[in-house]
């Protein structure tokens, strides 16, 4: 047994003897760890879930405007509607030789707060989550006809729907939207959970979207003009415009040439956005907020570790006699420094481990909540490089915090020698 081992054991036993006082200090280290690691974990997971939802799409095309707004709205159904793009333009782009597939997206309606997405059958065959996961139907089937809806997993679970249920869509997404109650939809399918915005959406076909708005103009029902659900088939239900067109290319390397081709084309002014670039803009925006949060958490950690140092320092007076006994047994002044510093190190190590455990527990228990309410899928992964770095930083700070009391103990032991002040 080496001297250091002996000191480690002594420090641990001594700390255990004062566990009442020290447990409060430990708690502050745990809270700091949970904050710092939790923030990092959440940040990573939020970014991942953004990236994941759009990973299979090469270009998001819509009316000219903010590329970030377009991606947020078209893919994540966040924020407000930009202008629409013409359907004929969408059809034209889908015929480009470089384009492998297109998925039209038409937004605007909602059902009890969940966005309604009108699209076509390509959504099932072409849309990809992560790199290569298609959207799967776990109950029922895809929409085939008018007034058929397929629900994302959270919509179905949250509202308790099953196939065969009848639902009413609302116009817009506000607090008291006007209902399309004259044209109810039937739930025909429910999707598997994906950990993406798909889970929080309802899917209908473009013709249905057109059909519910056939007797509306400019966001309001036309006065004195009603088309009954049975009669809509008499009308042309080809959409005139859509919100956005998700596009996949045969060859990803052509993405910039296709982008400039679309943006410089004659006629309607369009934006073609690389979703990764738009998300980088978003992450930069989030970065500022993250830095503030990180700063606050770091300050909490510093406060916690100062408390740790203060507690050990306050207890040191009583332990001067103990230090004198150790000195009489041959302990060097350096051993005394190590002994006292180790105490803070032990507490920090314990705090980090417990903090990581608490965080894991929180992630396990709040995972479903985060997914349901924020669409953030929390995966239980091992610590990332940055998380190791943060843990190492806390440990280093704990060591530094312990050096203060350690040095004080050093001077105590030099001054006291074998004398034991009471």
């Amino acid at each position: 047994m080496s001297r250091l081992q002996s000191l480690l054991i002594l420090a641990a036993k001594s700390a255990w003897n004062r566990r009442g006082t020290l447990s409060l200090v430990l708690l502050s280290v745990i809270v700091s760890t949970v904050l710092l690691l939790g923030l990092e974990r959440l940040k990573t997971q939020v970014r991942q879930s953004f990236v994941r939802s759009i990973a299979g799409t090469d270009l998001v095309i819509g009316a000219r405007g903010s590329s970030l707004q377009l991606v947020l709205y078209a893919v994540f159904h966040l924020g407000g509607a930009s202008n629409n793009m013409g359907w004929d333009k969408a059809m034209e782009i889908s015929q480009y030789p470089e384009v492998a597939w297109t998925v039209p997206i038409s937004l605007g309606d909602s059902h009890r707060g969940f966005p309604v997405v009108a699209t076509d059958e390509n959504f099932w065959s072409r849309y990809r989550i992560r790199r290569d996961e298609p959207v799967k139907i776990i109950q029922g089937r895809a929409f085939e006809d008018l007034f058929e809806a397929v629900l994302g997993s959270e919509v179905a679970a949250g509202l308790g729907y099953k196939t065969g249920d009848s639902i009413i869509l609302s116009h817009g997404g506000g607090e008291r939207p006007r209902a399309h109650d004259d044209k109810p939809f039937q739930v025909v399918g429910i999707l598997a959970p994906t950990g993406s915005p798909v889970d929080r959406s309802l899917y209908i076909n473009l013709a249905s979207m057109e059909a519910v708005h056939i007797d509306w103009r400019g966001g309001a029902p036309l006065p004195g003009f009603k088309v009954r659900a049975e009669d809509v088939r008499k009308f042309n239900l080809t959409p005139k415009s859509i919100t956005a067109l998700l596009t996949g290319l045969h060859n990803r390397r052509q993405v910039f040439s296709v982008q400039s081709k679309i943006q410089s084309a004659q006629g309607e002014a369009l934006s073609a956005v690389l979703p990764g670039v738009a998300l980088d803009q978003l992450f930069q925006l989030l970065g500022t907020g993250e830095k503030v949060l990180l700063l606050v958490s770091a300050l909490v950690t510093v406060t916690g570790l100062l408390g740790l140092a203060a507690t050990i320092l306050a207890g040191l007076g009583e332990r001067r006699r103990e230090l004198a006994v150790l000195r009489s047994l041959g302990a060097r002044p350096l051993d005394v420094v190590i002994l006292i510093t180790l105490e803070s190190l032990w507490l920090t190590v314990l705090g980090i481990l417990a903090g990581a455990a608490v965080l894991t527990g929180i992630l396990i228990f709040s995972g479903p909540f985060l997914l349901t309410h924020y669409g953030v899928a929390t995966e239980l992964t091992g610590p990332t490089g940055r998380e190791w770095l943060i843990a190492g930083g806390i440990l280093l700070a704990g060591l530094l915090a312990g050096l203060g009391p350690g040095l004080r103990a050093y001077f105590f032991s030099l001054n006291d020698g074998l004398n034991r002040p009471v």
Binding site: M1, R3, S6, I9, L10, K13, S14, W16, N17, R18, R321, E322, V325, L326, R327, S328, L329, G330, A331, R332, P333, L334, D335, G417, L418, N419, R420
Partner: protein, 246 residues
């Protein structure tokens, strides 16, 4: 006997003078010697510089004048860490009170010297096969029954605690036991019993004893009795070897 005399003294102070900064010398000793196996009683009231003497012999402070020898080594020629190590190897201290670490069990307190001194660990292992067995033998010798060994030291009486301290001082057979008023917290009945136990266990271990106390009633238990105030004189002046008393 001749064998012992041929060995260097366990501890020897020669013309040692020490003063705390800005104060008159508190220690002024011409000569103080403890030979191997010798038990020395040193009488001195409080304030006579006992704790300074303890620190000098332990090598925590160095005299301004003169030399302190531990066996064949001169303390002033050694570095601080070397003196720390020597103290751990060669001296078992027993203090007036608060000898024990409150967070360790009785047995863990007794084995503490083996954690800090390699030499004493080895000796304790050689003597009884293991450090633990050495500690248990000493505890038994000092009348501490087995049921107490795993207890917290805070649960013991003052007398029991001093005996645990004695066991710790003796673990690993250091050549010198240095006791500073170890009986002052004990009542009269227990004082003599403690001193007798300490001396008989020290004899078994072959350790010299330097016992500092104001309680002169204990002096006749020792082979040599000295007075603090007379140490400034040549030690031979009031040196009363045990043999000469008989």
């Amino acid at each position: 006997m001749t064998d012992r005399i041929s060995q260097p003294p366990t501890v020897r102070l020669q013309n040692v003078s020490f003063a705390w900064p800005g104060q008159a010398p508190i220690i002024d000793i011409q000569e103080l010697t403890v030979n191997p196996g010798e038990t020395v009683f040193l009488a001195g009231p409080s304030g006579s510089g006992k704790s300074t003497l303890l620190n000098l012999i332990g090598g925590l402070i160095l005299p301004q004048k003169g030399d302190v020898f531990l066996g064949d080594l001169t303390l002033s020629s050694l570095s601080g860490p070397a003196r720390d190590r020597l103290r751990g190897d060669r001296i078992g201290f027993i203090f007036q009170e608060f000898n024990l670490l409150p967070y360790l069990s009785v047995e863990d307190n007794v084995t503490l010297p083996a954690r800090l001194s390699l030499l004493r660990r080895r000796r304790a292992q050689e003597a009884f096969g293991s450090v633990q067995k050495s500690a248990q033998a000493l505890l038994t010798g000092l009348d501490l029954e087995e049921s107490l060994w795993s207890r917290k030291v805070t649960a013991l009486s003052a007398g029991q605690r001093q005996r645990v301290a004695a066991a710790r001082a003796l673990l690993g057979r250091p050549p010198l036991i240095m006791a500073d008023e170890p009986t002052s917290a004990l009542d009269a009945d227990h004082r003599l019993a403690f001193v007798d136990l300490l001396l008989s266990e020290s004899r078994k271990a072959g350790a010299g004893v330097l016992f500092v106390s104001h309680d002169r009633s204990l002096a006749d238990r020792f082979s040599v009795s000295l007075s603090f105030s007379s140490l400034g004189l040549k030690q031979s002046d009031n040196y009363t070897p045990a043999e000469a008393q008989k």
